[in-house]
């Protein structure tokens, strides 16, 4: 791509003034830069133009006489002369607006869009004063629910093709389309097929009229009553930029912000609508303690903190442990890391819940940004979870890269996913055999390819031959029934490819901030280890742990043995999130004192917590968030927390204070300053940079002191003829605590089923949907059975995300693979 003319500019005359524009730039954008805003409805800078609404007609002369042209479809060319305010242009704009209003109901006073409506605004600015249309307007049933969250009012629709283009081109969910023709043209779903897209909320945001509305916001506020602040979405680790809009101290709506390096303005519905959980009636407004009848009862902060201090004071460092922390802001994570490791001197701290990766695989390999992964001409190796299910905004970026920018996608996943249709090669190795497959792939680049892990040598050779340009591995834990170590080993193999870098696909909220803050065994803040960073961090912290501690699996196992006196559960629900259900329950129940810090009561709190601190949610406290690239962006407080709930970092300082230590942290800013002082990798995270990078954030780069992982696992034996190897993946809507408390997303969690490769399904000899028994060495469940042709032979899939995470009952933490038997019930 080194065309000589690419760097050059062209000159365009806009209303008499000459401006410079880059070749290929659309005229509508060039004019806007020149200060001549051209009205538009269908044009959206993140989608392909269609020239449908005809609102952006301007008079253009390219040397053959002036003519009306749609400026959204016209790339600039040298010597082009544009008039945006001539009588001809104005008449055309007047005419189009009058046409648009012919059938548009004037119900603005009761329309949610009224006050922020492009049709309203542009009618005032560019339209005729009144309509000459005297006939009856078009009528449709209004509104109709086209999905669980989105309503469509076809009378208001001006048929701009934005929602339909988004669904088809951007999200790839062609579930809404035009039907009928002429004046009866309307957007609708296909019969009996709802607009069940994970990205449906974006259509509401980009609708230029009030035709599409979302359930959580309908009739909740008028735009002029809303206050807003910029922030970062927290339900997954993409770090999509959002504005948080509130009225009367209640968050009412989140909108995507177009951050060029991150989400391009798009959000998954989970990111967009899960804020409802923050407004839920079940939010904790006061701390809780367990009374003598084993009931959790509200209490005052003094009582709750004193009880926590009493428990902590009596415990030896190695008998204290802390699980979780991915929900917290970077600042709160640092404060809790300093409390746990610096004051309590325990290294039994893990922010991952046994469902992630070894930290070396996340922090110790060459890192890539989303933009790196999406480079035109590059190759993306997806060796991780289905981004459509777990990292929605990243899915949209990857999809665009493959479809529009010519990136090559190679998929190494346990089964087909949202990007499979775009992958040039899909490799589905047998569970647990990722290392073998990746070794074979790397070997095939310069040599022979042999059948490996159930994947044919020809397929491996073809995938190896398709590797082109810089390679980005999107690295995560696709199946919870395999270990992170196995993925890390595979990553080590892939790191031998030329020009390769890695984009972490750990999914949970601010998990990357947690790792950067040292919330992991053996880590200290700033991507450093206990040994390498002790001198730097030790200067600032009151103390340090003596040796490397346990991870979550180790903590729960130790606790079950009676070796943990105090277990702090920092915004986590191990019963639902830890891969091994039985181990989580046993560990929580055997811990001496369980201190939970959370927003609502979750299953782990109900089952085992003795003391519960009520924490402030993401829109209720200020701080920063680190996304999967290492990009730090701000989360600003918009509303006050319920009751007396407090920001997490404040709870850490308060506990430290009562333990006789001073963390020296009195604001998010002071915490950031201390983080920068102890962490060389955070050197650019200064307040000025955050202010400048208000939209795109500040990228924290480098591996720090973390070395690349080394191979650990041994060869995986094949399963016997009677058993199947288990695959368990997540989906967007789970029965997690956030969605359980979101009114409009509740109930979207997928049901439980078991999917088998077609051969296995045929062997079973049952009809699709028949209830079967799935049994592993640690548990069993009953579920309807179906065939799934993308599963490798000899494997079975049970979704992780079904209500109650029943798959956890089959999984034994730490086992490199799980064999199950599927039998007729």
């Amino acid at each position: 791509m080194s065309r000589a003319d690419e760097a050059e500019t062209v000159n365009v005359t806009v209303n008499g003034a000459e401006i410079e524009a880059s070749p290929g730039e659309l005229l509508i954008d060039a004019c806007e830069r020149a200060g001549a805003y051209i009205p538009r409805f269908c044009y959206h800078s993140r989608m392909k133009p269609v020239g449908m609404c005809r609102m952006c007609l301007v008079e253009v002369d390219t040397g053959r006489g002036a003519a009306l042209q749609p400026s959204c479809m016209l790339p600039v060319s040298d010597g082009m002369t544009v008039e945006t305010e001539t009588d001809l242009t104005k008449k055309a704009q007047d005419g189009v607006l009058e046409f648009l209003l012919v059938n548009h109901p004037l119900d603005c006073p009761v329309c949610d869009k009224g006050g922020e409506c492009p049709l309203q605004d542009q009618t005032v600015a560019f339209g005729p004063g009144e309509s000459r249309f005297v006939e009856e307007k078009r009528h449709y049933e209004k509104p109709i629910a086209i999905s669980d969250t989105v309503y469509l009012d076809r009378e208001r629709c001006i048929l701009c093709d934005r929602c339909t283009r988004f669904a088809n081109d951007v999200a790839g969910d062609t579930l809404i389309h035009f039907m009928d023709r002429g004046n009866n043209t309307q957007v609708n779903t296909f019969p009996d097929e709802p607009f069940a897209s994970y990205f449906s909320g974006n259509t509401v945001q980009i609708c230029p009229v009030g035709a599409l509305t979302a359930k959580p916001y309908r009739f909740k506020a008028r735009p002029w009553d809303l206050e807003e602040t910029i922030s970062t979405a927290w339900t997954d680790s993409v770090g999509s930029r959002i504005t948080v809009q509130s009225s009367r101290n209640e968050v009412l709506r989140l909108l995507g912000v177009d951050a060029d390096s991150v989400n391009w303005g798009w959000l998954s519905d989970k990111e967009r609508f899960a804020f409802e959980a923050l407004n839920s009636e079940d939010r904790l407004g006061r701390p809780l303690v367990r009374d003598d009848d084993h009931q959790l009862v509200a209490t005052g902060w003094g009582d709750a903190l004193d009880r926590a201090v009493a428990a902590l004071q009596g415990a030896a460092p190695e008998r204290i442990a802390m699980i979780g922390g991915a929900r917290l802001t970077n600042e709160s994570q640092y404060a809790w890391a300093k409390l746990a490791k610096g004051v309590l001197r325990t290294d039994n701290v893990d922010s991952q819940l046994g469902d992630g990766l070894p930290v070396e695989a996340v922090l110790g390999l060459p890192r890539a940004t989303i933009d790196d992964a999406c480079r035109p001409g590059g190759t993306i190796i997806l060796m991780g979870p289905d981004p459509k299910e777990e990292l929605g905004a990243l899915y949209l970026r990857l999809r665009h890269a493959v479809l529009e920018d010519g990136a090559t996608l190679i998929e190494i996943t346990p089964r087909a996913g949202g990007l499979t249709g775009l992958a040039s090669h899909s490799l589905h190795p047998r569970p647990g055999e990722l290392p073998a497959l990746t070794a074979a792939l790397v070997a095939a680049v310069n040599g022979e390819a042999v059948d490996t892990a159930g994947v044919g040598g020809g397929v491996i050779a073809a995938a190896a031959a398709a590797l082109d340009g810089p390679v980005t591995v999107v690295l995560g834990r696709a199946s919870l029934a395999e270990t992170g170590e196995s993925v890390a080993d595979a990553a080590v193999n892939l790191s031998r490819l030329d020009d390769v870098s890695f984009l972490s696909a750990l999914r949970r909220g601010n998990i990357h901030g947690a790792l950067d803050a040292g919330l992991s065994p053996g880590l200290l803040p700033g991507r450093t280890t206990l040994s390498a960073g002790s001198e730097r961090v030790g200067e600032v912290w009151p103390g340090l742990p003596e040796s490397d501690g346990l991870d979550t699996a180790g903590i729960l196992a130790a606790s079950a043995e009676g070796d943990i006196d105090v277990l702090i559960v920092l915004g986590a629900d191990p019963i639902n999130d830890f891969v091994d259900h039985a181990a989580a329950v046993a560990g929580l129940e055997a811990a001496g004192t369980v201190i939970a810090v959370d927003l609502v009561r979750n299953d782990s709190i109900e089952a085992a917590a003795h003391i519960v601190f009520a924490a402030a949610g993401p829109t209720e406290s200020s701080g920063t968030f680190t996304n999967l690239e290492g990009r730090v962006s701000v989360c600003e407080q918009k509303v006050t927390p319920p009751g007396t709930a407090r920001p997490d970092w404040m709870l850490a300082t308060e506990l430290a204070h009562r333990l006789g230590a001073d963390l020296g942290l009195d604001s998010p800013e002071s915490i950031r300053a201390e983080l920068v002082s102890v962490s060389p990798v955070h050197h650019n995270l200064i307040e000025e940079a955050l202010a400048v990078g208000r939209i795109d954030g500040v990228l924290v780069e480098g591996n720090g002191d973390i070395a690349a992982p080394v191979s650990t696992t041994a060869d995986v034996p094949s399963n016997d003829a009677y058993s199947l190897r288990l695959v368990s993946t997540r989906s967007m809507y789970d029965d997690g605590v956030a969605l359980r408390h979101s009114a409009s997303s509740r109930g979207l969690a997928r049901g439980l089923d078991v999917r088998l490769s077609p051969t296995e399904f045929d062997k079973l000899g049952v009809k699709p949907g028949t209830i079967v028994k799935v049994e592993s060495s640690c548990g069993q469940l009953l579920a309807p059975a179906f065939a799934d042709s993308s599963l490798p032979a000899g494997s079975a899939h049970v979704p992780w995300s079904a209500a109650g995470s029943p798959a956890g009952s089959l999984i034994d933490a730490g086992a490199p693979f799980i064999d199950v038997r599927v039998e007729r019930a």
């Binding site: 005809r54 009306l68 005419g95 009058e98 059938n103 000459r132 005297v134 048929l159 002429g182 004046n183």
Partner: protein, 468 residues
Amino acid sequence: MPTHSYVPHAPGYVDNEGPKIVTSRFGYEDSFTLERSQATGGYQALRTALDKTPAEIHSEVREATLLGRGGAGFPAGIKWGFLPPGKFPYYLVVNGDESEPGTYKDRLLMERDPHQLIEGCLITCYALGLQQCFLYVRGEMALAQERIAQALNEAYAEGYIGKNILGTEFSVDVVLTWGAGAYIVGEETALIESLEGNRGMPRLKPPYFPAAVGLYGQPTIVNNVETLSNVPWVTENGARQYKTYGSEKSPGTRMFAVSGHVKRPGVYEVEQGITTFRDLLYGDNFCQGIRDGHELKMFVPGGGSAPWFFEEQLDLPLEAGPVGAAGSMLGSGGIIVMDDTTDAVKAALRLVRFYARESCGKCTPCREGTTWEERVLQRILDGEGRPSDIEMLLDIADNISPGPYPVAADPAQDLDAIPFPPKQTTICPLGPSSVAPITSTIRRFRHEYEAKITKRDPIPVAAEKAVS
């Protein structure tokens, strides 16, 4: 062979004893079969073509000035030259979605002589190095689809289509597809969208000129059925022979479909350029004049989209240039004749309603404007018209098609013609097509509108004319 009259097995076709280039087999009852085709020289032109170089065929067609018969009248030989080099594969798309009001000539060509069309496609593919041909036939034309499908099977079996055609290195596949019943897919970019499996909606040109970015983004030649049906004859007989028919600028013959108040409506193969509208409408070999006791009030010269003509345009030749300069177009070759019993407002409404119903819904001015026009016309006819409606209709028309809309000269009012084509605020000409009946009738018969608005019923029209 029947002459001077309708051909019973080719309903609508009238043999006028003139030169026959594309209708030469219409007289045979079995004209659509491979046997009849081969017995009458069918596929001979393909053999001739394969003996020559592709460039020779292309230059022969260019030399013949074979004008496109779909509506725009662009020379096929020049259109063929627009293919960018080295952007394989190239496609040929045959536009058989004939649905312009008043036009039914391509249907006859497809029903009566599918092999001639297929042969034309094959020669075109050979001449231009096109790798695949898509025959897109209008959804409602069941018999045409059936006959073409049959003909394709026969031609495949005979080795005219497929791999190594007639033992040469030339290979091409021909695919038959049909529409779902939308007028708009007669527009070439909408047809391509439909062919790709999408909703038939036009694409903006540029960038989507089919020759550059066409079917599946590849360079594509889109030609009309009649255009391609001429190709075998041109190949076999040469450009020089072709140019002995018709006029210098519009050589050859052309099919016209005449409907309405003439004694003998039908499809005629006519020499272009030298025949006039008067010859065609009044000639003994042709339509034989307006039905008895009535006289011509107006006629649509080239399909429903064309601005209307009147008595004083009758002596114009059937040739694109003069007709365009006179404010209309030959378009699709559909002539609709209306005599003095016709209510101008009702006639305008009839056509406007067609365009309103057939608008694809993409461009706002067309989607909303055509229906608005229809409803205003209906309101006027219902006796609910307002005095401001006439100017409003013209202004709505101006918002769809800004600037003076093409109209014929009006000697009575001493007004000159405004030449074709019009400007448009829409992507394709469907919206502006709806303007033609309105501007044509308001300019000429404003008094009929006014009479309806002021509730003076102007019917019978003939009587009123006698008064003035």
